[in-house]
């Protein structure tokens, strides 16, 4: 066997060679990390040494409280959470649809006048603005707003989920509508179809299974969100968790949290199974 040549170009590993750009990036990441650790009093040593409160909390959780009364409150709480998340996703989806339809950018007709372009751009930007406001305010803040306006209970919580879901779904719907294969849409436009027609027959049929998947995913997110909305008095199982925490009734907390985790996992599985079966 011939011996390998003594000189050959080195290939090197997969990590990029030194460059000023990567060095700068590393430097930025390191300094941000240090700055944030200081700012948040981040201390792993404290977490590991102050075992006493953690021990008390964890041991208090066992055995979980499985008395009939606790199970009953858990059950009603989780049902309410489920209903809130479902209605929130449904109303959100219904509100999101027209906003998404308006907020979908259709390529302007070649050679269209400036007035026509403007007329096309106004509803688009309005719809996008509304969606942005809905989306950028977190659902827990919407819940606070609605609790102040409507009082305590699951209704303001449901509204909060609906508004936030509408914002998120509206944006995702319109992105789905914009991303559908363009050729069938273009073919329709080329034979004189207007914007309503290209939307209904060109974009919507191609986007609808994507909508279903996104809506189911939003419902999953809503279940998780709905469990904390109770912390601000907007109904659901969160309210029970907060009360039990404040009463140091950790064994009840264990039951409530355990059941919540179980239901969230179940809904995740269920929606994932449906989404897998969607035909595109």
């Amino acid at each position: 066997m011939a011996s390998p040549p003594t000189e050959y170009p080195r290939v090197g590993g997969a990590i990029p060679r030194f460059s000023w750009k990567t060095s700068l990036a590393v430097l930025v990441i390191l300094s941000l990390t240090g700055w944030s650790i200081v700012g948040t009093n981040f201390d792993l040593v404290e977490l590991l040494t102050s075992t006493r409160p953690v021990e008390k909390f964890v041991s208090g959780m066992f055995p979980p409280d499985l008395s009939a009364a606790t199970l009953r409150t858990t059950f009603t709480g989780i049902l309410e959470t489920f209903q809130m998340s479902y209605l929130g996703a449904l109303i959100g989806a219904i509100a999101a649809f027209p906003l998404a339809a308006l907020g979908t950018m259709e390529a302007p007709t070649i050679g269209a006048s400036r007035g026509e372009r403007l007329l096309q751009a106004i509803p688009y930007h309005l719809a996008r603005l509304v969606l942005n406001v809905f989306r950028s305010v977190p659902d827990i803040l919407w819940a606070l707003v609605f609790v102040v306006a409507l009082g305590l209970g699951p209704f303001p919580g449901t509204l909060a989920l609906a508004v936030h879901s509408a914002g998120i779904l509206g944006k995702l719907y319109s992105e789905t509508l914009e991303a559908v294969p363009a050729r069938p849409v273009e073919a329709l436009r080329a034979t004189g179809a207007g914007s309503l027609q290209t939307f209904l027959f060109g974009r919507l049929p191609q986007a609808v299974s994507g909508f279903t998947s996104l809506t189911l995913y939003q419902w999953e997110c809503n279940i998780r969100s709905a469990t904390i909305l109770g912390f601000v008095g907007a109904g659901g199982i969160g309210q029970q968790i907060l009360v039990s925490m404040q009463l140091f009734d950790y064994s009840k907390v264990a039951t409530l949290v355990g059941v919540t985790i179980l239901v969230v996992l179940l809904v995740d599985r269920f929606s994932a199974a449906i989404r897998r079966r969607l035909v595109y």
Partner: protein, 294 residues
């Protein structure tokens, strides 16, 4: 096929006249100073290597790409000066058929065929067609058209579940429903089998016989020879315009110079490795050509 009078109010589109048409995509010159006239009811094949500007030429005729220079007259009117509403009424009478079918795959074949008429629908009729399907008159024409392309039993089938050849026949049915004055067929035979090719061509010729102007983009010169007039593009310019008999081998080799498929006879007749593809200065990007979709 039904002979119900269509758009009796509208007069036919009239002749097409391109004058010095130039189209640019960024720095790429897709069409350069193209001038030609097409009389009503003409039957015309456009040939050229891929990237020669054939698809772009067709897209100018429905005002789907901006013109850098030049003018396109459809009958009496300047296509690029029409208002959006006037443009729509012209587009409604232009039927298109593509290599990639460009049907909406999720819709039933019958609805895709019915979409030939969508341009002429008002908002209310659009909605009712969307919700409950085409009205009786349109449904009957759709059934007739599908019957003519031998897909009478497929009206309710999901278009995506049909074979490529069947989808191209649905696209022909859409044309039959639309009954356009001008047909732009953009490489309609490039992705279908020989049998479908013959049937699609027959249907197109029949529409032409009934009065529609027919323009077909072709890669295959043998098919082009069945047209009375052939226009050849090379690098965005018209390099030949005349009857196919004048299309000599020498002219063909100039038209296809630099194209790996040589005289357009198809990839299987030549060894690609011996003819490495020359970088064509006007080769279009994916998505602008109508060819690279598959």
């Amino acid at each position: 096929m039904t002979s119900s009078p269509r758009n009796s109010k509208e007069k036919p589109l009239g002749k097409l006249a391109l004058e010095g048409v130039t189209v640019r995509f960024g720095k790429t010159l897709a069409l350069e100073e193209v001038s030609m006239k097409v009389e009503p009811k003409e039957r015309l094949a456009v040939i050229g290597a891929s990237g020669a500007g054939k698809s772009t030429l067709f897209r100018t005729l429905t005002r789907s790409v901006p013109l850098a220079e030049g003018r396109i007259a459809v009958g009496e009117c300047d296509l690029y000066a029409l208002s959006t509403k006037e443009l729509k009424s012209v587009q409604r009478r232009v039927g298109t058929i593509y290599q990639a079918y460009n049907l909406v795959p999720q819709l039933p074949a019958g609805i895709n065929a019915a979409l030939g008429e969508v341009g002429g629908m008002g908002s209310l009729r659009t909605l009712s067609t969307f919700l409950v399907g085409p009205n009786d008159a349109l449904a009957w024409r759709v059934a007739q058209a599908l019957e003519l392309v031998d897909l009478g039993d497929k009206a309710g089938a999901r278009t995506a579940d049909l074979s490529g050849g069947q989808q191209q026949r649905v696209a022909v049915a859409r044309l039959l429903v639309q009954r356009p004055d001008l047909i732009l067929a953009d490489e309609p035979f490039a992705a279908v089998d020989p049998v479908t090719t013959e049937r699609v061509m027959e249907a197109l010729f029949e529409l032409n016989d009934k009065g529609a102007t027919l323009l077909v983009n072709l890669h295959d010169v043998r098919i082009a020879r069945r047209f009375p007039r052939v226009v050849a593009l090379r690098e965005g310019r018209v390099v030949f315009d005349g009857p196919p008999e004048r299309l000599t081998d020498e002219k063909l080799s100039r038209i296809y110079a630099g194209d790996p498929y040589g005289t357009g006879a198809g990839p299987d007749t030549q060894d690609d490795t011996r003819h490495p593809r020359r970088e064509d200065p006007v080769r279009l990007m994916e998505g602008r050509d109508g060819i690279s979709a598959h």
